[in-house]
Structure formats: structure tokens, C-alpha cells
């Protein structure tokens, strides 16, 4: 079990190899890619930042929870920070298990909880409007 914040390119092939197990019959991976649009606005690229020590701690808690809740053999999650271009991988989650139910459910749990709880922030650069911190609506005029 590994939760990692990295500023290097995410390489799914080598990550996948680390969670291969002879007892596993099912492997589910999730990749979050930088899209070319969000909410209808064309996106140029984006930047992720993180409060790394807390992010990795909270991430490990999420992986432990997944292991308690679902019958899985191995799980890992890597989230990238820094500037990303369209089509690059922002986050990768891999889970192996004896059966596919657990692999699907645990993978979904890990990505949902990671998005909801881990201190990572996304700033999107648009083609036609100023960059924005996603989720941080600025309510105060001025």
C-alpha cells in the first residue's frame, strides 16, 4: 500500500506491476487525465499543488480504510503536482483483489475519498478567461 504525491510524470505500467499478486484475479485501475475542457470552458492546462506531508498521511488513511472495507490484496494511489498539459495523468489508482467486486468498489472508494479529503488543489488555465482555483469560489466582491 502506497500513497504518493509526485512532481514526476505518472507511469501506469510500472505502478501496475507493483500490485500484481498471484492470488489476485482482478485488477482495476483508474486514471484521471487533464481534459481539454471543464464546465464548457476550453482548458489550456492546469497546475496542482499540495500540502504534501498531510496529503500523504491522509492518503495512507484512505488506503487503510479501503483495505478494511473491501477484500483486496493491494492498492496504491499516486497524485501528481506541478504544471500538467492536456492528456497527462493527474492521478492514478490501482487495486488488485481475488474478485472484481472488491477491486471495483475499493478503487472507486479510493478515488472518491482522495478527491474529497486529500489536500490537493487545482488551478485551471483557460484559453479565454483568467485562471481559477477549482472549488474555491470567491464570494467576496473585492
Amino acid at each position: 500500500m502506497q500513497f504518493q504525491i509526485t512532481d514526476q510524470e505518472i507511469k501506469p505500467e510500472s505502478l501496475r506491476r507493483e500490485i500484481l499478486r498471484d492470488v489476485s484475479g482482478a485488477y482495476v485501475s483508474f486514471e484521471g487525465w487533464v481534459r481539454n475542457h471543464n464546465d464548457g470552458k476550453p482548458v489550456n492546462g492546469l497546475e496542482y499543488s499540495s500540502y504534501i506531508p498531510l496529503a500523504e498521511k491522509e492518503g495512507m488513511r484512505i488506503l487503510s480504510e479501503a483495505k478494511e472495507r473491501y477484500r483486496i490484496e493491494a492498492a496504491a494511489c499516486v497524485h501528481r503536482i506541478g504544471s500538467l498539459k492536456i492528456g497527462e495523468i493527474a492521478v492514478w489508482v490501482g487495486v488488485s483483489a481475488a474478485h472484481r467486486d472488491a477491486a471495483f468498489d475499493a478503487n472507486r472508494y479510493i478515488i472518491d475519498q482522495t478527491k474529497a479529503r486529500v489536500p490537493i488543489w487545482k488551478r485551471e488555465a483557460y484559453l479565454d478567461s483568467p485562471a481559477e482555483w477549482v472549488n474555491c469560489t470567491d464570494d467576496t466582491p473585492g
Binding site: Y51, L54, T114, K115, V118, I120, W121, W133, C136, T140
Partner: protein
């Protein structure tokens, strides 16, 4: 007492700095944020934030001690 504060995302942008050490009498993160919000006109309400003390999540009424590191966590958006 001295408190170290790290800023991330929108707070870092609005503060214009990522880290600072301040001298404060704020007994809790709640009071501390209220002071900083006024001083730097942060747009985020405390209800939108979480707080971490010394690299772990904490309550808003956690008792701050000299030398603590405090981070206010804007709404996260990983993935």
C-alpha cells in the same frame, strides 16, 4: 507566542506568500484565521476551510502552542 503558517492555493495567492512566522496571541486556529482574514482580506469563509496543526487535521478550537505550524486548508480539488 510564535506560530508558523503555511499558505496554499487561493490563500497563498491572496497572502502573496507561502510561509510566514508570526507573533500572535490567538489561542485557537479559529481566532487566528479570523485575525488573518481581516488583515489580508481573505475571501474564504472559515466554514469553507479545514485546519491542520503540525501536519495533522485539528479542530478549530484546538489550543495553539508556541512553535506550532498551522495550515488552513482551502476546498480541495484533487483528481
Amino acid at each position: 507566542m510564535k506560530i508558523q503558517i503555511e499558505y496554499f492555493a487561493l490563500l497563498k495567492e491572496q497572502r502573496g506568500a507561502s510561509i510566514e512566522t508570526i507573533e500572535t496571541k490567538a489561542a485557537t486556529p479559529e481566532i487566528l484565521y479570523s485575525d488573518l482574514k481581516r488583515q489580508y482580506t481573505f475571501s474564504l469563509e472559515p466554514s469553507a476551510l479545514k485546519v491542520a496543526v503540525n501536519e495533522d487535521f485539528a479542530n478549530w478550537n484546538h489550543s495553539l502552542e508556541d512553535g506550532d505550524t498551522v495550515v488552513f486548508i482551502p476546498p480541495v480539488a484533487g483528481g
